[in-house]
C-alpha cells in the first residue's frame, strides 16, 4: 500500500510527461475500439440487409454484381431477364414465393424499384423482420408508390404527395415521366437497409411509364396515364427476382437448375453466401485498419517506454534514497511497473470515455446522414481483451526500465555519482 502511495506521488511529480503518454495511449485505444466498433456495426448492417431469401435470380453476370444491384442498388444490371422465364420459375412447385425487381428509374437521386405486393409480405431483413409501414399501406393502383423512410425524410414527403419519376438513374429534366405522376400511398418505417432509400411501385406502374418510350427516349406516340391504365400492362422483362423455397434443402438443386436454364442465360445466387464473399473482400480493408490502429497502440506504448527510460537517470537519486530507507531492489522495479500500469490503465479509461463521448455526439448525426444506428452498448469480450492486452503490454514494457533500475540500484547502493 505504501508503495502504491509512493508510486502515485512520484508519478504525480512527473505528471506532464506521463499525462502526455497517457493521452497518446488513450487516443490509440479510442482508435482501436472505434475502428472495431465501426467494423462490427458496418458488418451488422451489411449482413442484415437481406435475410430468409433463398435465391436471387438475375441475368448472367457475376454473383457479387447481381447482389450489389439487386439488393444494395449499387451499379446497374448488365441485362434483364424475360418475364416469361420469371413466371416459369415462379410456378415451380417447390418455390414458395417470388418477388420481382425492376430497376432503372429514379426520383431525385433515389432509386425506383418496380415490384409486386408480395415484396411487403416476403422481404425480410435483420433476422426475419418484415417491412413495416409508418404511414399508409402497400400500393394498389398502377400509379401508387410506397417510399422508404429516408426518402420521406430527405424530400419531406407525406401521404398523397405526387412524385414524378425520372428515366434512368441520373435525373434529368429531359427524361422525366412527367405525364404519369405517382401518388404516395405508403411510407415505410426505418430499416437501416437500402430499402430506406428506395421508392417502390408496382411492375405495372413501371410498364405504364415506359409504354410510350423506346430505347431510352420518348417516342412520337403519346399515351396518357389513363389510356395506359387500360392497356395490357404485362411486363416483358424484369431486372431480377428474389425467391423463397418451401424447403431450404432444395436450394442448391434449384440454383443449379436455374444456372443451367436453356431459354436464356440466368444466374442464381444464395444471398448469404455471396454476402459473405463480398464481406471478405471488404473485410480485408477493415483488417488493415485494425492492424494500423494496433500499431498506433504500439507507438503509444513505446512512447510510454521512452518517457520511463528518460526518467531513469533523474530518478537515480530517488532510488538510492528509497534503498537507504529499506526499499528492496524489487520495490524499485515495482515502482516502474506500477507507474506504467497507472498510465496505461488511465489511458484505457480515458480512451473508452472518449469513445462513448464521441459515439453519443455523432450518434444522431450518423443516424440522420447514413441511417446507421450506432448502439451505445457495453464493451464486448473482444474489446475488453484489447484493453487487457494493452495493460499487459504496458507492464511488459515497463519491465525494461524496471529491470535497469533494479540492476542499477543493486550496484549503486547508497553511492550515486551524478
Amino acid at each position: 500500500m505504501k508503495l502504491l502511495k509512493l508510486a502515485a506521488k512520484s508519478a504525480w511529480n512527473r505528471k506532464i510527461s506521463l499525462s502526455l503518454a497517457m493521452f497518446s495511449i488513450a487516443i490509440s485505444i479510442l482508435l482501436l475500439l472505434g475502428v472495431d466498433k465501426i467494423r462490427k456495426e458496418a458488418k451488422n448492417s451489411f449482413i442484415n440487409t437481406i435475410s430468409q431469401t433463398d435465391l436471387i435470380v438475375g441475368a448472367r453476370s457475376g454473383p457479387v454484381n447481381l447482389l450489389l444491384y439487386s439488393v444494395f442498388h449499387i451499379g446497374n444490371a448488365t441485362n434483364n431477364i424475360s418475364y416469361a422465364s420469371y413466371q416459369k420459375i415462379a410456378a415451380k412447385k417447390r418455390v414458395k414465393w417470388t418477388v420481382p425487381i425492376s430497376l432503372g428509374d429514379s426520383h431525385r437521386g433515389f432509386r425506383v424499384m418496380g415490384t409486386s405486393r408480395d415484396y411487403f409480405r416476403y422481404y425480410r431483413y435483420a433476422n426475419a423482420r418484415t417491412l413495416q409501414f409508418q404511414h399508409g399501406k402497400p400500393f394498389v393502383d398502377v400509379y401508387d408508390a410506397v417510399i422508404g423512410y429516408e426518402v420521406a425524410r430527405a424530400l419531406n414527403y407525406s401521404l398523397n404527395d405526387n412524385i414524378i419519376i425520372s428515366h434512368g438513374i441520373v435525373s434529368s429534366k429531359f427524361a422525366e415521366h412527367d405525364d404519369k405522376p405517382f401518388r404516395i400511398v405508403g411510407i415505410l418505417k426505418k430499416t437501416g437497409t437500402p430499402v430506406d432509400r428506395t421508392i417502390q411501385v408496382s411492375l405495372q406502374g413501371i410498364e405504364a411509364i415506359h409504354i410510350d418510350w423506346q430505347s431510352g427516349t420518348r417516342s412520337g406516340l403519346k399515351i396518357s396515364a389513363e389510356q395506359a391504365r387500360k392497356m395490357g400492362l404485362e411486363p416483358k422483362a424484369i431486372t431480377a427476382f428474389m425467391l423463397g423455397l418451401e424447403n431450404k434443402i432444395d436450394t442448391f438443386r434449384l440454383q443449379r437448375k436455374i444456372n443451367e436454364y436453356r431459354a436464356e442465360p440466368l444466374l442464381a445466387i444464395i444471398p448469404g453466401a455471396t454476402l459473405a464473399t463480398l464481406w471478405q473482400t471488404i473485410g480485408n480493408f477493415e483488417k488493415v485498419l485494425l492492424v494500423v490502429s494496433a500499431l498506433v497502440l504500439m507507438a503509444g506504448l513505446i512512447g510510454l517506454l521512452t518517457t520511463l527510460l528518460t526518467t531513469l537517470n533523474e530518478r537515480r537519486r530517488e532510488m538510492a534514497v528509497l534503498r537507504a530507507v529499506g526499499a528492496h531492489a524489487y520495490h524499485v522495479m515495482l515502482l516502474f511497473v506500477l507507474e506504467a500500469t497507472f498510465v496505461v490503465a488511465g489511458g484505457c479509461v480515458l480512451g473508452v470515455a472518449l469513445l462513448y463521448l464521441i459515439q453519443s455526439v455523432i450518434q444522431p448525426l450518423v443516424a440522420d446522414l447514413y441511417g446507421i444506428h450506432i448502439s451505445l452498448c457495453l464493451l464486448d469480450g473482444e474489446q475488453l481483451l484489447v484493453l487487457g492486452a494493452a495493460v499487459l503490454l504496458g507492464i511488459l514494457f515497463s519491465l525494461i526500465p524496471g529491470l535497469i533500475a533494479y540492476k542499477r540500484s543493486l550496484q549503486d547502493g547508497l553511492m550515486v555519482k551524478i
Binding site: 505504501k2 534514497v321 537507504a324 530507507v325 526499499a327 547508497l414 553511492m415
Partner: protein, 229 residues
C-alpha cells in the same frame, strides 16, 4: 566497556571487473554509543565501507557483524529489512524525495519498517523536526522550499526516527558552510546521544574530526593496495 555494534574481520572487497581490492580491513570494531569519524580522501573506499556495513554490497571475503548479526547469513531482502530496522542513513545531499512533504520524508523509514514505526510512535517526526530547529510552518511544505542546511537537518530527523541503533552519515556536511556545519553537528550529536545511537560518520574534511569521540584514518586500517613484503 561498551559492546561492539559493528565488527569487521578480514574484510576484503573489490568491484566486479577490478584487479585489486579497494578495501582490505583485517579488523575494525565500532562500539555502542560512540561517535566515530572515519577520515579518508576521495576514492579511498569510505562510501564502499558504508555500503558494506549497511548491507548493500557484500564483501568478497571476511565477515561483517552488525548488532551481533552476520550480514552474510541474511538474504538480500533480509538485509534490506535489517538496514531499515537498525540503520539510519544520511547522504551528502539530495536526501529528500521532492514529491513527498517534509513530514512524509521524515516518516519514510516507518513505511518500510514496523519496528521503526512502533518505536517512533505518532509524534516522533514533529518532535524531531522541532528539536532540529525546522520552523513549524515548513512542515507541510514541499521540500524544495527548504535551504540546503534545513534539508540536511530533515535528513537527520529521518535517520533518527524510530530510534535505529546506528546512524550512518556519508559526508553530510560537505554542502554546508561553517556555521551551518557546526550547528548541524551539534544537533546530530545531541540527538544521537539522546537516543543512544552509534554514529558512523565518514568525511574527507579533517576540520571536524576533533568534535568526535573517536577518529579513524581509513588508510591506517585499510591494507588494500599495500605491497605484500
Amino acid at each position: 566497556m561498551n559492546p561492539n555494534v559493528i565488527k569487521l574481520h578480514n574484510l576484503r572487497f573489490r568491484w566486479p571487473g577490478q584487479a585489486e581490492d579497494i578495501l582490505h580491513i583485517p579488523d575494525m570494531q565500532i562500539h555502542q554509543g560512540e561517535h566515530l569519524f572515519i577520515q579518508g580522501s576521495s576514492g579511498s573506499g569510505k562510501t564502499t565501507l558504508l555500503n558494506i556495513i549497511s548491507g548493500i554490497n557484500c564483501p568478497n571475503a571476511g565477515t561483517v557483524q552488525v548488532l551481533d548479526t552476520a550480514l552474510a547469513n541474511l538474504s538480500t531482502i533480509q538485509r534490506d529489512q535489517f538496514r531499515v530496522d537498525h540503520l539510519g542513513v544520511i547522504f551528502q545531499q539530495f536526501n529528500l524525495l521532492p514529491y513527498l512533504s517534509l513530514l512524509e520524508n521524515v516518516q519514510l523509514p516507518c513505511w518500510f519498517s514496523h519496528k521503526r514505526k512502533a518505536q517512533a510512535g505518532d509524534e516522533a517526526a514533529l518532535r524531531l523536526l522541532d528539536e532540529l530547529q525546522i520552523p513549524k510552518h515548513l512542515v507541510n511544505k514541499p521540500v524544495n522550499a527548504l535551504s540546503v542546511g534545513q534539508q540536511q537537518r530533515v535528513a537527520v530527523a529521518r535517520a533518527l526516527i524510530g530510534r535505529p541503533e546506528i546512524i550512518i552519515a556519508d559526508e553530510p556536511t560537505s554542502a554546508l558552510d561553517t556555521n551551518n556545519r557546526n550547528r548541524f553537528l551539534e544537533l546530530l550529536f545531541s540527538e544521537a546521544n539522546q537516543q543512544g545511537s552509534t554514529l558512523v560518520f565518514v568525511s574527507h574534511d579533517p576540520h571536524i574530526a576533533q568534535k568526535f569521540s573517536r577518529v579513524i584514518e581509513l588508510s591506517d586500517i585499510n591494507h588494500a593496495g599495500e605491497t605484500i613484503i
